[in-house]
């Protein structure tokens, strides 16, 4: 009896599946877009929200009838946060799946590994990683033809911090940075722009990413005449430095990088986290933006949809995938299944309102954002708030 029932259910399911398949076949051919994210491994905290976001958008687009009637087929690959596996995944997407465009990877390192491949294969790629070398060839100083990215630039974060300091009359600062890629890159940018902005770095300290105590570095800083500390890291150090400063009785303001944009860091810092100033995309304060802010609608909609679907707090990293995929979709709408035309359309993108800012790509700018994409935020009563 049970077996009969089960087999009849299977037959019905098979029929439904067949109908669905033939239904598609009658329709237009799907547009294939590849996505490579660091879903597992050490950068999974980047790749996971990006994967979730991309899947959510794929469903949304197809529920609304696809792109000009063509369903969007997203082929998602996990590179395990590993450069070699990223190369394999991208080769597979290009050779076997013949995708029209690729979004991802999540880290600067994994992206840099595949930049030469997409350039040679002439497939447009929109990275979700921040390093400027991704879009700009440091040797020639020119933008790479086939590569774009959606996260804001590190240098813009530095400039926003320095602007805020200038407005407060701060001219002498101390910097503490992690020795990982993010911290090292931040240290370079902080030093590069200091002089031009009239700021002197009086102490330059570093720590290893796994370090749990920065009191030696901060004691040294305490002995200088620094008027503020800038800490640049994506590790637990972001919560430990404020705690250590409090322990040492340091009352000068603490600035952190956009890496601080996860409320967990503020929670872990507890009371010591109050008053930290940092630049970040506006997703973290979506609801607190004035109603007439151009990004408010996009941000609130994305945040609500994501949090309802995945039952976890939205992160700016998922936002980078959101922006990348929508830019590709808009380009597909105009260009159709032609890689070179898609690239041209991406480069022509202007006034695209994303979660990271308002994108205006051009021949000489494949990041498309200005420093105004960053908002200066602070921690107030354990929550992120706009710095006033």
């Amino acid at each position: 009896m049970f077996r009969q029932k089960a087999s009849s259910i299977i037959i019905i399911l098979a029929l439904v599946a067949l109908m669905a398949v033939t239904g598609y076949a009658q329709d237009k051919k799907p547009y294939k877009v590849g996505a490579v994210f660091d879903i597992t491994g050490k950068a999974s905290w980047l790749g996971e929200p990006e994967r979730n976001t991309a899947k959510m958008i794929e469903e949304e687009v197809n529920a609304k009838g696809g792109i000009n009637g063509h369903p969007l087929q997203l082929i998602i690959e996990d590179n395990e946060s590993d450069e070699t596996k990223t190369v394999n995944a991208v080769n597979k997407l290009i050779e076997k799946d013949q995708v029209l465009a690729i979004i991802g990877p999540s880290q600067s390192g994994t992206t840099m590994a595949v930049v030469p491949i997409v350039e040679a294969a002439q497939v447009p790629l929109i990275s979700c990683a921040a390093a400027e070398a991704i879009v700009n060839d440091p040797k020639t100083g020119k933008e790479r033809k086939w590569v774009f990215k959606t996260p804001q630039k590190d240098s813009h974060a530095v400039m926003r911090i320095y602007e805020d300091m200038k407005s407060k009359g701060i001219t002498k600062i101390a910097i503490t940075t992690g020795t990982d890629g993010f911290g090292a890159q931040g240290r370079l940018q902080l030093k590069k722009y200091a002089e031009g902005m009239g700021i002197t770095i009086v102490a330059d300290e570093t720590y290893a990413p796994g370090d749990t105590d920065m009191t030696p570095q901060l004691t040294k800083i305490k002995g200088t005449d620094a008027q503020a500390v800038v800490n640049w890291s994506i590790a637990a150090a972001q919560s430990i430095v404020p705690k250590n400063m409090r322990q040492l009785g340091m009352t000068i303001p603490l600035y952190q990088s956009h890496g601080f944009g996860n409320i967990k860091y503020a929670e872990a810092a507890g009371e010591a986290g109050e008053g930290i100033i940092f630049p970040a995309g506006r997703l973290l304060v979506a609801e607190k933006l004035p109603d007439d802010h151009p990004q408010k609608k996009v941000l609130v909609e994305y945040k609500k949809a994501y949090e309802a679907k995945y039952k976890e707090a939205v992160s700016t990293f998922g936002g980078h995938a959101h922006d990348a995929l929508w830019i590709v979709i808009k380009a597909l709408e105009k260009a159709g299944p032609d890689k070179a035309k898609i690239r041209d359309e991406i480069e022509k993108t202007t006034g695209f309102v994303g979660t990271g800012g308002i994108f205006n790509f051009s021949l000489n700018d494949h990041t498309g954002l200005t420093k105004d994409a960053f908002e200066m935020l602070t921690v107030k009563n354990g929550q992120f708030d706009l710095l006033k």
Binding site: S44, E205, T206, D213, T215, P216, T219, Q247, E267, A268
Partner: protein, 295 residues
């Protein structure tokens, strides 16, 4: 260079050094019983901190109650790890055992990632968070807790080894395993004890450090590395040496960061470690005989 800054460096060094000392002790206990380096030692520290956070902030248990529960839980994990992974081996060689501990460490780290997620977790301080002024340097009350608890733990451990039969049996095993088994000591049980005991030490270290250093699933490896450095510097198999070397590495790191340059902080500690090993391969306090037995 003023005195209070130097005092601050030394205090910071002692705090972090005491944790290295605890990890180094854990390495020593297992090494004495089995000749192997337990690469999962750092994970015990991580698990101690993580379980404590869950008990205190999740289940809202009071600190004094959560502390022994967390220690017991990790001790059990250590014992279960030994029973499931080390004990069943028919022909245990040092190399396979070490590889097993590496696998165990990856497993525990992955399990912790699933259980607690990738975020960093915090724990309230045991008492006030208000720093105490001490000759111009500041010291957190939590640091006094750390130093106090570690002193008690090490003292109890020393008593355990001197007074109890099990402790004496463990020492006998460390001295000569074959002879110990000939006089009727159940060596396999001693191995179980050694894992449980070093898991316990790791858990204690993890719990007391979490209020000031926070904890996340991937913290174990770095602590294990530093603790291993301390164990080797002190001379493997020498508990007193391990504790002393732990403090030494902590203070060297801190002074190096403060007085020379924070860019070379880890290098300074490692250069000292290398230099000592070149001049005295058995470690600072190791006797000539107690070299790495099976390597």
């Amino acid at each position: 260079m003023n005195v209070s800054a130097i005092l601050q460096y030394i205090l910071s060094g002692i705090t972090i050094g005491s944790i290295y000392a605890m990890v180094a002790l854990g390495f020593n206990i297992i090494y004495s019983a089995t000749d192997i380096i337990n690469f999962a030692q750092g994970e015990f520290v991580m698990l101690g901190g993580m379980i404590m956070v869950s008990l205190v902030t999740g289940l809202k248990l009071p600190l004094w109650f959560a502390f022994p529960v967390a220690v017991l839980a990790v001790t059990l994990i250590g014992a279960i790890f030994e029973r499931l992974c080390i004990h069943p081996l028919k022909k245990p060689t040092v190399l396979t055992l070490i590889i097993i501990t590496i696998a165990g460490s990856i497993l525990m780290k992955g399990g912790a990632m699933f259980a607690w997620g990738k975020e960093i977790l915090s724990l309230p301080h045991f008492s006030s968070e208000k720093p105490i002024l001490f000759f111009g340097a500041t010291i957190l009350p939590q640091v006094l807790w750390i130093l106090g608890i570690i002193t008690v733990a090490v003292a109890l451990l020393a008593l355990f080894f001197r007074i109890t039969i099990t402790g004496k049996a463990m020492r006998a095993c460390a001295a000569n395993r074959r002879a110990a088994s000939l006089v009727g000591i159940n060596v396999k049980r001693i191995v179980l004890f050694s894992f449980a005991l070093s898991a316990m030490l790791g858990a204690i270290a993890g719990i007391i450090i979490t209020p000031i250093a926070l904890m996340s699933y991937d913290r174990g490896a770095m602590l294990a590395l530093k603790g291993f450095g301390a164990a080797v510097l002190g001379g493997l198999g020498n508990p007193v040496g391990a504790v002393a070397a732990g403090f030494l590495i902590g203070v060297l790191e801190s002074l190096g960061a403060g007085l020379i340059s924070s860019h070379y902080k880890d290098a300074i500690a490692l250069i000292v470690l290398l230099a000592v090993l070149f001049i005295k391969p058995s470690g600072l306090f190791g006797s000539g005989e107690a070299r790495l037995k099976k390597f």
